[in-house]
């Protein structure tokens, strides 16, 4: 949450996060660059430039795989949520590592010719109509452009400037980038390398991303909606509510609502955080404010507004308790509309 833009709003957790990430990246590169040549024991070593390019390329692939595992892991088990907190720094670092890989490739495979490296990259292999020998470099170029774009627009300034829905959609490009990277690896090194190990590692990484996303989707798929004759949507029985937490339900239009119990009273706000659509209903009320589990943006549960001086707002909904169950009116109020909380009937804890 910010009212003015500074490059990074540092706090101790971000320092820890970045420190661990940088140590991880440094460990990967150091082991790949300096330990594996001896372990390989080739009579004549791989060209240092190619070895470097491979180290940075493999590191970028691994980082991207980890980044894409964090989202579904956090959905499957909330203990992983802290990994999501500063994920954008992980993404920016990945873009730098991938750019270094591209730099080594351009400076080696596409250097020393009468064409410029970029011209060579685009012109040398144009066998687009075939799988074996496909110019897989172009998939890497596409992925690098995506990663650079995402890194460049990762700051909250761009989130605000582009508006969260556009920003969020733009940042789904990460999946296109990952698909391109998988293609880049499969059509490049995997077609060539006869070792089973490298195949297993790359394919295993990509498969892990797919499986975790499927598992998270399966776990998060909406319960069938109970819609009363009046059009109100049933959320949960009254005794399912816990003080300080929410129950989430999906509305007929696909949006989700989070109904919180706060000081014995029910209030409903949109489940999507105004920051990056984080699931507010998976958050908690801290100091009387709904706190997003992703980056900690806060909202007053009674009106969907962030506390001053912040200006973020989310829509609110009407709630009622009937026949031992809690219902919401699926018609959203404009963001920031105050709604009187509804007392929870006896039986709730």
């Amino acid at each position: 949450m910010s009212v003015k833009y500074i490059p990074v709003q540092w706090n101790p957790n971000k320092w820890y996060y970045d420190g661990i990430m940088l140590v991880g990246v440094a460990a990967f590169l150091w082991v790949f660059l300096y330990i594996t040549p001896d372990a390989l024991g080739h009579e004549r070593p791989i060209n240092p430039q190619i070895h470097n390019a491979r180290a940075f390329g493999a590191c970028a692939f691994t980082m991207l795989t980890v980044i894409l595992c964090i989202g579904p892991l956090a959905r499957l088990d909330h203990r992983f949520l802290p990994l999501l907190y500063n994920r954008r720094h992980f993404g920016v670092m990945t873009a730098f590592v991938a750019a270094t890989h591209a730099g080594y490739i351009l400076d080696w495979y596409f250097a020393f010719s009468s064409r410029s490296p970029v011209q060579g990259l685009l012109e040398a292999n144009t066998s687009y109509g075939q799988i074996a020998g496909f110019p897989f470099e172009i998939l890497g170029v596409f992925a690098l452009i995506c990663l650079t774009l995402l890194a460049a627009t990762s700051h909250d300034f761009w989130l605000k400037f582009l508006t969260p829905p556009v920003w969020k959609r733009l940042h789904y490009l990460i999946y296109a980038a990952y698909a391109a990277v998988v293609g880049h690896v499969v059509l490049g090194i995997l077609q060539d390398d006869r070792g089973i190990g490298v195949n297993l590692l790359f394919i295993g990484g990509a498969a892990l991303v797919c499986v975790l996303h499927l598992a998270a989707w399966w776990q998060g798929r909406a319960e069938p909606m109970g819609i009363a004759a009046t059009g109100w949507v049933q959320v949960a029985p009254v005794d399912a509510f816990r003080e300080g937490f929410a129950k989430i339900t999906k509305l007929p239009d696909g949006d989700r609502v989070a109904v919180f119990l706060h000081e014995g009273q029910l209030s409903a706000i949109a489940n999507a955080c105004a920051h990056q659509n984080g699931p507010l209903g998976e958050g908690k009320i801290v100091d009387c404010l709904v706190t997003c589990p992703w980056h900690g943006f806060q909202y007053d549960v009674r009106n969907g507004q962030s506390p001053a001086p912040f200006t973020e707002k989310v829509p609110t909904y009407l709630v009622k308790v009937e026949g031992g169950a809690v219902f919401v009116n699926p018609a959203a109020n404009p963001p920031g509309t105050a709604v009187a909380p509804v007392p929870l009937e006896k039986g709730a804890t």
Partner: protein, 251 residues
């Protein structure tokens, strides 16, 4: 859910979660190191080809033949490159020496440069300008090529320079664009045959009737292919005049 510790990024991590976070951090760092090792040691051996700077500069004299890729039939060798041998040449980087060799076709020339060597295959990367190749005194003629008939070969079309060791690894699909770039720069193409032809695994490739590598071949570079063509022995080197219409991916 209500009992679970709740992490808010800008607040100290709750006690119940700290152990998990330390573990996750340690696993990430160790996992990255392990991934670096596993991916690093999975790389194939790039083979024996290499620049032989350790041999020092090689300077020999011989007769220039254009196939159209220029060859030297050595008339005055040294202790590494013997008289009677035939070899290919390249310039520095991804370029051939066609322009410099063409005016000397059929004549005796002195060539100087560094060797690239991979098993029986070697090539000379010439020094720049006239230091690399120039007309020389002496006599000699291009030996009459010996026709070895039409062959159907299976193997890989490579650029001779990277294959000989300019790049390590210097062949295969991941290297295809680099190979194409070399070939576009007139570096001599070499066929690596899965079965030796008259004792040699490496053959210089040309198009039919003394033309350069046919354009159709570029799509097949670095793949396992079969192709037919005329094999001739030019001095000690086999030259394969491929027929582009017979190019096919090998099963």
């Amino acid at each position: 859910m209500s009992d679970k510790p709740f992490f808010v990024g800008y607040l100290p991590a709750p006690g119940g979660l700290r152990g998990c976070l330390v573990l996750a951090g340690a696993l990430l760092m160790l996992g990255m190191a392990a991934a670096g090792f596993a991916l690093g040691v999975a790389q194939d051996d790039p083979g024996e080809g290499a620049f032989r700077f350790d041999y020092g500069r090689q300077t020999v004299t011989g007769v220039v033949e254009l196939t159209p890729y220029p060859l030297i039939h050595v008339t005055e060798g040294n202790d590494r490159i013997k008289a009677g041998e035939t070899f290919m040449m390249s310039a520095g980087g991804k370029s051939g020496v066609d322009g410099r060799a063409a005016p000397l076709a059929g004549q005796v020339a002195q060539v100087s440069g560094v060797m690239l060597e991979r098993g029986d295959l070697y090539m000379l990367q010439l020094r720049g300008g006239r230091n690399g190749i120039r007309a020389a005194e002496g006599s000699g003629a291009v030996p009459e090529p010996q026709d070895l008939g039409r062959w159907r070969l299976a193997g890989e079309i490579c650029d001779g320079k990277c294959l000989s060791g300019a790049m390590r690894p210097g062949r295969g699909l991941a290297h295809k664009a680099c190979a194409n770039l070399c070939l576009l720069g007139d570096v001599p193409p070499v066929f690596v045959s899965t079965q030796p032809v008259e004792g040699s695994e490496f053959l210089l490739i040309t198009g039919p009737d003394g033309t350069a590598l046919p354009e159709a071949a570029y799509d097949y570079v670095a793949q396992y292919v079969t192709v037919e063509g005329q094999v001739r022995r030019h001095g000690s080197l086999l030259v394969f005049a491929m027929d582009p219409d017979t190019l096919a991916l090998a099963p």
